[in-house]
Each structure stands twice: as C-alpha cells, then as structure tokens.
C-alpha cells in the first residue's frame, strides 16, 4: 500500500485525478476501522492532514465556509454560536478523542446513513464544495447522498468544504443511542428555523438508506406557522401541531430492523425526537429558551 502525503490541495487533486482509486484519509476515525479489520485493502491512502487550507474556516459572502478537515472539536469551540445545529451534532460524535480527529468532510466522504452531521446539513441547506483538477462545484446537501455509503462525488473529486449560513434562528439536533458516548445513532433528527424564508428545515438520520429531508413535515409546519402569523408574533405551539410534525417526520423515514434497533422503534423514536426538538427550537424562538431544561416534551 502506498501512502501519499500531498502538502497542498492542488497536489492532492492531481493525485486523485491520476489515481482515482486512492482512499482519502483525514481524521481516520472511519477509514482506520476498515483497515484494522481488513474490510478494505486500498492500494494507496491519500493523507489530507498536511493540507493547511482544508483545516480553515472563514466567512464566504454571507455564508460560512468550513474546510473539510476542520475537526469536530473546533466546530464546537469556534463555531458553536454561529452554527449551533452543526455544533450540537458534533458534540454527539464518538468521544472527546474522536472529536479531536474526526471531521465533517469525513462524515460526508463516508456518507453513512448514520453519520451524525448529515441531518443538520440537510436541515440547514448546506452546500458541499467538491473539487477536482477539472474545477470546483457546489452540491446541495439534499443531492449529495445517493445511497448507503454512496455520495455524489466523481472518482477524481475530493471534498473541499461545506458552506452553511450562520444561524438566524434556533436549530436543534437530537439522537437516540444506547449510551451517551461512542454510539452509532439508532436514529437522529435535526430541525432548523428559517424565519426569513418563512420555512423550517427538517431531516432524519439513520432511518433510511440515506439521510433525508422530511419534506411533508417541513411543508406542514411552514403552513401552520404562516397561517397563524406565528413568525411575526410567536406563541407556544399547539400540542396537536407538534405531534403532527412528529408523525410526518417519522413518515419520511424508511427504516429497517438491524442490530441497533427495529424499524418500528425507529419510527416511534423519530416522532418523539421531531416533536421535542421542534418544541425546544420554538421555545427558543419565543424567547423562553432558558426553561428548556425543566420542560418535558
């Protein structure tokens, strides 16, 4: 196995163009498990950790451009105020040791249906910046996930960054697992309020072949909120609205029975997660966020 260590992104792209079969490695928290257990024998690894430009984040027009190699710990510490949903999901990844190494770029590259950041990227309308020697293109998160561990990258492309708008309103993420640390999600859910567009982003994780948006839930809630004029004069949501939102979110999933949980449990849990996260986000929007810890959805 060759180990290739480019020091610039351009160099990495040239290698990927010449040898599309090379496996990129950054944090290594996913790729290394496959190597250690001999699930994969790549002919070459492409070490992306020496490429400084991948580990930077910066404002880009009215969005934030987060380099594919920025580890979770830095998203939590440095971007938690502007990207609260992404930071919440990042806090649930693995353990402190894993968050020191793992990256959003790696989450996207692996494209596991259970990846923790995917529902947030979908709910927040993130764009994935991918590059090759042919040029750079932006892929909306909603078009990025094609199947179980399959994404929209061409063989010669690498993930450069994700672009997200700084949050203008509350966002929430929640995940079900058997313990607090080191769990692969049984199911997960993200919600992001977009008052400037009069809509809500919602997405489910680990409950379908790909992470996916809960479009019916989004449309239902957007309708309810604008009909009642709640964006302008926020009031607590009716229980019936939150419950219906939960039901529609669960319907967006097509879960399976597997070692982590049954399809029926996932549907049930998703309805609960969606109802609660919406409740928390809306409570924050109403300006009573500090009561969240006492509330029971």
């Amino acid at each position: 196995m060759d180990f290739l260590i480019p020091s610039t992104f351009a160099e990495a792209l040239a290698i990927k163009a010449e040898r599309p079969e090379v496996v990129p490695i950054a944090g290594g928290t996913d790729v290394m498990v496959e190597l250690n257990f001999d699930h994969r024998r790549p002919t070459a690894l492409l070490d992306l950790t020496r490429i400084a430009e991948l580990t930077e984040w910066a404002p880009s027009e009215n969005l934030l451009r987060v380099g594919a190699g920025v580890p979770y710990v830095r998203i939590i510490d440095e971007l938690g105020d502007r990207l609260p949903g992404l930071a919440m999901a990042s806090r649930t990844v693995g353990s402190p040791q894993i968050r020191n190494r793992g990256t959003v770029g790696g989450n996207l590259g692996a494209a596991s249906p259970a990846g923790d950041t995917h529902p947030v990227l979908l709910a927040c309308d993130a764009q994935v910046e991918v590059a090759s020697v042919r040029g750079t293109r932006m892929i909306p998160a909603a078009e990025f996930y094609l199947g179980v561990k399959r994404n929209a990258l061409e063989p010669d492309e690498l993930i450069a960054a994700v672009h997200l708008a700084p949050a203008a309103a509350p966002q929430q993420f929640s995940k079900v697992g058997t313990r607090n640390a080191m769990v692969i999600a049984v199911c997960s859910f993200a919600v992001a309020l977009h008052p400037e567009q009069g809509r809500v982003g919602a997405a489910v994780g680990s409950a379908a072949p790909t992470p996916r948006r809960a479009l019916a839930a989004e449309e239902f809630l957007a309708g309810e909120l604008s009909d009642a004029g709640l964006w302008e004069s926020p009031k607590p949501l009716l229980d019936s609205v939150r419950r219906r939102f939960g039901e529609l979110a669960a319907e967006a999933a097509s879960p399976i029975d597997d070692v982590r949980g049954t399809a029926a449990y996932r549907r049930h849990a998703l309805a609960v997660l969606a109802r609660r996260t919406l409740g928390w986000a809306w409570q924050d929007y109403c300006g009573t966020g500090e009561t969240r810890s006492q509330s029971c959805a």
Binding site: V33, N36, D47, S95, P96, Q97, I98, N180, M182
Partner: protein
C-alpha cells in the same frame, strides 16, 4: 518486532500463508488441539508478515516522550502497533482496535487521540506522549499518584488509557463536577466498572498542578 527476514519462510506471500494458517487451524480443531501445528502456522504468518513489511516499509521518525525514535514501518501500521511492537512501549494498550474503548489513548501535540485510529506515518513531526512519558523518574505524575490513592482500577487493562485521558481532561478544564468528568471521560471504557474511583482520582488530581 524481531526481524525474521533471514528465515526461509520469507518467500511466502501473506495471502497463501494465511490460507495455510486457516487450514492448519481447522485441522488443529479436528485433531483436538494440535498446538504445534497451529503455532507453526502462526510463526509462518509472522515471518511472512515481517517479509511483507520489510518490502514496503518506509523510514519514519516519531517523537515519543521527548525522544526522536527512528523506525521502519509499513504504511498500514497504526501508531498503536508502532508504539507497542516496534518501540516496545507496551504501556499503551490495545483493547478493541476500532476506537471504541479508549485503552490506546495517547496525547499528540497535547490533544488526546486514539492511537489505533491513526497511522504511524501520519504522526511524524508530532509530539507524542504515552503513559511511559508521564512520570519523572520515580516521581509519578499527579494523575498516576491519584489513581493509586483512589484504587482507580481493578484489572488495569484500561488504566493507561484512562490516565492519558484524565491528563487531557484536566488540561482541557473539564473537571468542574463529577458529571462533567464523567461526560468528558466517556471515551474510555472500564470493564471492571471502577468508574466511581476513576472519577474521584481525576477530581483529586485536578486539584494539583504539576510543577
């Protein structure tokens, strides 16, 4: 790791030897624990691996506990295996080899990572600290001393990982309460469930500043 490249077994390819090893293991079961056969196969495997490794090994320098150490490793060798099997630093333990248990936690440039989830070749130009690098001579690191005072282990399998994580937790400033310590030590599993004592040790050690 001893260099077995002079043995005649070096002509074997890893794959053929693994196949032979598998057959020997099955035969071994059939013949009710044919230990000699199985261990011969294991030795053959080791030799072939060594030969394979020699062919594609690259020279690297790892800075471990302040010392620059030169070694040759195949690119697929994890930092954990390089530490344990090449540098004889066996204080760092291999538990799950998949990043779940935390037994292999080391500090790299002051941050804790799992050494099973990183390749040795990726960690050149980094300052690596293992459990062997904590004590100054016979003077234990405050975290090590606190683990002994609080009897924070039973079998000891997870202990070096727990100690490395605890050193980092204290540096990171996540020792405000027992809940906070538990949360930030959650990447380290203890099969003996010595958690109450581990938390007490971390809390105690956090009070001391290393001079």
């Amino acid at each position: 790791m001893p260099d077995n490249s002079e043995t005649p077994k070096q002509q074997h390819k890893r794959r053929t030897v693994l196949k032979a090893g598998g057959a020997a293991a099955i035969a071994g079961i059939a013949a009710a624990h044919s230990v000699t056969e199985a261990s011969a196969a294991t030795q053959a495997q080791d030799a072939a691996l060594a030969a394979d490794t020699e062919a594609s090994a690259v020279p690297i320098v790892l800075t471990v506990n302040g010392q620059a150490r030169q070694l040759r490793v195949e690119p697929r060798v994890t930092l954990l295996d390089a530490l344990r099997e090449r540098l004889d630093l066996t204080g760092t333990k291999k538990g799950c080899d998949r990043g779940e248990c935390g037994a292999c936690t080391v500090l790299v440039d002051g941050r804790r990572i799992k050494s099973c989830l990183t390749l040795a070749v990726m960690r050149q130009d980094c300052a690596i600290t293992t459990v062997e690098g904590l004590a100054k001579g016979d003077d234990l690191h405050p975290v090590q001393a606190a683990f002994i005072r609080h009897d924070a282990f039973q079998c000891g399998g997870c202990t070096s990982g727990q100690i490395m994580s605890a050193v980092a937790v204290i540096d990171e400033g996540h020792t405000g309460s027992t809940d906070e310590i538990r949360e930030w030590m959650s990447g380290n599993i203890c099969r003996c469930a010595a958690y109450p004592n581990i938390v007490a040790a971390v809390q105690d050690a956090a009070k001391e500043k290393r001079p």
